[in-house]
């Protein structure tokens, strides 16, 4: 289960997340949607502990989390193979003096098989297509056997076939009882892909099952013109807090 309580995150003179509170039960495939600059990635990073909120807290019922970041965060010219990247997911299990064992390699290959890339194990990561890069990150997360998955815009710029593959895999994981949180950018596919949706525009507009929450009214609130009064007031607050 993933829970956030009154998260406030500022950056310089603007509020990125404002009083975000929600709770996601286990076994749910959740999509976070909102306009550009709504703070979706920041929310994900705050849930992961990569960003520290000004106030509020995050609680995850499990310590085992798998992170699938945006593809641009990594230098794809790095001299490393597909298998080696997936093996990184096994590092926490190794003591600092231990070497990679057969069991680790096995687990990595198994994860690669799950995403359909076992035959690419010895490829340089620079040779992968967009969809393959995404699947690589997913395999790396899978090998950790986490209970919660966090994916940041996994479908951006990849081919449709890869997208379908990944969605299918995510649904399988969901059926196994995992919680999966995905930052998503494509509205038309929300009802097809996700069970739950979280509508975000600096503030939390709504969070719940797609059938209940994903309707025109909420979408208008999320994507419509943000209240300038609110933005100004909250911006002013961020400014005063940082002494500017």
């Amino acid at each position: 289960m993933v829970q956030a309580d009154s998260l406030f995150v500022n950056y310089d003179r603007t509020a990125v997340l404002w009083d975000v509170t929600f709770s996601v039960p286990p076994g749910v495939l959740l999509g976070i949607v909102g306009p550009n600059g709504a703070g979706k990635s920041t929310l994900l990073k705050t849930l992961l502990g990569l960003v520290h909120p000004l106030s509020g807290n995050v609680s995850l019922s499990t310590g085992k989390i798998g992170y699938v970041p945006q593809r641009e965060t990594v230098d794809w010219d790095f001299p490393i193979t597909v298998l080696e990247v997936v093996l990184m997911g096994r590092y926490p299990r190794l003591r600092w003096w231990q070497r990679i064992r057969a069991a680790d390699r096995e687990a990595a290959l198994h994860a690669l098989t799950q995403v359909g890339m076992a035959d690419l194990a010895d490829r340089q990561i620079g040779e992968l297509s967009g969809g393959q890069q995404q699947k690589l990150f997913l395999a790396r997360a899978l090998v950790q056997e986490p209970d919660v998955f966090f994916l940041d815009e996994p479908f951006a710029g990849i081919d449709l076939a890869a997208e379908k593959d990944i969605v299918q895999l995510l649904k399988q994981l969901r059926d196994q009882g995992k919680t999966i949180i995905v930052v998503h950018h494509d509205l038309p596919t929300v009802s097809e892909y996700f069970d739950w949706v979280l509508l975000l525009n600096t503030r939390l507009i709504a969070c719940g099952p797609v059938a209940e929450v994903f309707h025109a009214e909420n979408l208008r609130k999320t994507y419509g013109k943000t209240s300038p009064l609110f933005e100004e007031a909250v911006g002013l607050s961020a400014q005063k807090q940082s002494g500017l």
């Binding site: 209240s227 009064l229 007031a233 002494g243």
Partner: protein, 405 residues
């Protein structure tokens, strides 16, 4: 030595004016590089110039000792050619081999400079009379500048100033959304010239420093491009002059002296600039928190009627005329009651706004209102009142104090 003498004395004036001009030129270009986040390009350029300068000297040395007066020109030409080669190498490495800018800059820098080290050793062995010249290339020696050198410095400064003024618009587009390639090339050529000319006074190692500190200082004090250029030029000229003055009192090479002065300016600007300077931010934050505490106390008094004396905050409120002391109690004055009511009004207006307009749950609005009551300006209050159509009750059914007359 009076100030004027630095400009009139035949020995002092060339170094003084020369350093001023050089630093001013460098700082203008520094602003452009700073905003492009390419400051360290100047580092590579200056180090790449080293072997070139030496080649110039060696060429003269081969021709004969009578050519020594031409050293300045020879160094300039050689340095320019090699600095350009260094820049070209960086671009080549980046584009042809997909090497990241960081590594390309570092590699080019190290290679060219290493070649310079090699040439220096040759000069020291084969042309020992010239090795002194070779050594001063590293750290600079403005003290021996003459009026003749000033011509070159002056012309370059004029060119850069004209460029900055004439191409101001183009520079703006360059900095904000990657404008034309020609402008970028022009900037790079001017950079080459500025560095190559500056080597004589500031030396290879630290000439890049001339570009960095004034730009940082300018950024701390200005937001838009025009004022940034002006501040940078001012700081540049000042650093150049004062650095040179410093060298007349302490036996330092010119480069380090100028860098220390300009860094001093940069740090001062960062700390004390009214806009983003650390000192002011600290003070502002502190004063804001103090105001919040005062206003919270006023609110409490408004709700309770009277309270036991509350130490320093209470004292401040008394000073400002919001409260009076009655024995061991504090009470609000008439003015105080109005002010407190105003704060409560803001609190409740905001709560209503959140619940009504933004659909936030009533239980969650209090916290935000506690923060916003200190922030909302009269203008924002006006807009809130309009949007909420002059409300009378907040989400908790408490009355909203009316607007101040």
């Amino acid at each position: 030595m009076t100030l004027v003498e630095y400009f009139t004395d035949p020995i002092l004036r060339a170094p003084s004016i020369g350093c001023m001009l050089m630093c001013m030129t460098a700082s203008l270009l520094g602003v452009v590089l700073f905003l492009q986040k390419k400051l360290l390009l100047s580092e590579t350029v200056s180090h790449a110039a080293y072997p070139g300068a030496l080649v110039g000297l060696i060429a003269l040395a081969l021709m004969g000792p009578e050519f020594e007066p031409y050293a300045f020109a020879a160094v300039l030409v050689g340095a320019f050619v090699f600095a350009w080669a260094g820049l070209w190498t960086v671009r080549f490495l980046e584009h042809r081999f997909r090497i990241h800018a960081d590594a390309a800059l570092g590699f080019s820098l190290a290679l060219f400079f290493g070649f310079g080290v090699l040439l220096t050793s040759w000069v020291q062995a084969v042309f020992p009379l010239w090795s002194n010249q070779a050594e001063t290339l590293l750290f600079g020696q403005a003290a021996t500048l003459t009026d003749g050198h000033l011509w070159v410095y002056g012309i370059l400064t004029a060119i850069v100033l004209t460029f900055v003024c004439a191409c101001f618009r183009a520079l703006q587009t360059l900095l904000f959304d990657r404008g034309s390639r020609r402008i970028e090339q022009a900037v790079q050529i001017l950079l080459l010239l500025a560095i190559v000319v500056g080597i004589r006074s500031a030396g290879i190692i630290l000439v890049a420093g001339m570009l960095i500190a004034p730009a940082v200082a300018a950024r701390a004090l200005a937001r838009s491009l025009g004022p940034m250029f002006i501040w940078a030029a001012v700081f540049g000229a000042l650093s150049g002059f004062l650095g040179n003055v410093l060298t007349t009192h302490v036996r330092l090479p010119t480069g380090p002296a100028i860098v220390l002065v300009s860094t001093g300016f940069a740090l001062a600007a960062l700390l004390v600039s009214p806009g983003r300077g650390l000192a002011f931010r600290f003070v502002r934050k502190y004063r804001f928190h103090l105001r919040c505490r005062e206003e919270n106390l006023l609110k409490e008094l408004w709700k309770k009627g009277r309270m036991v004396r509350k130490g320093w905050v209470g004292f401040r409120l008394k000073q400002q005329g919001w409260v009076v002391r009655e024995g061991q109690w504090l009470r609000l004055t008439e003015d105080g009651k109005t002010k407190a009511a105003g704060i409560v009004r803001l609190h409740r207006l905001w709560e209503l706004y959140l619940t009504e307009q933004l659909g936030v749950e009533a239980v969650r609005v209090h916290r935000s209102a506690e923060e916003m009551e200190h922030i909302l300006t009269p203008e924002l209050e006006e807009r809130l009142t309009k949007v909420l159509a002059n409300p009378e009750k907040d989400p908790h059914a408490q009355p909203i104090p009316p607007r101040r007359p």
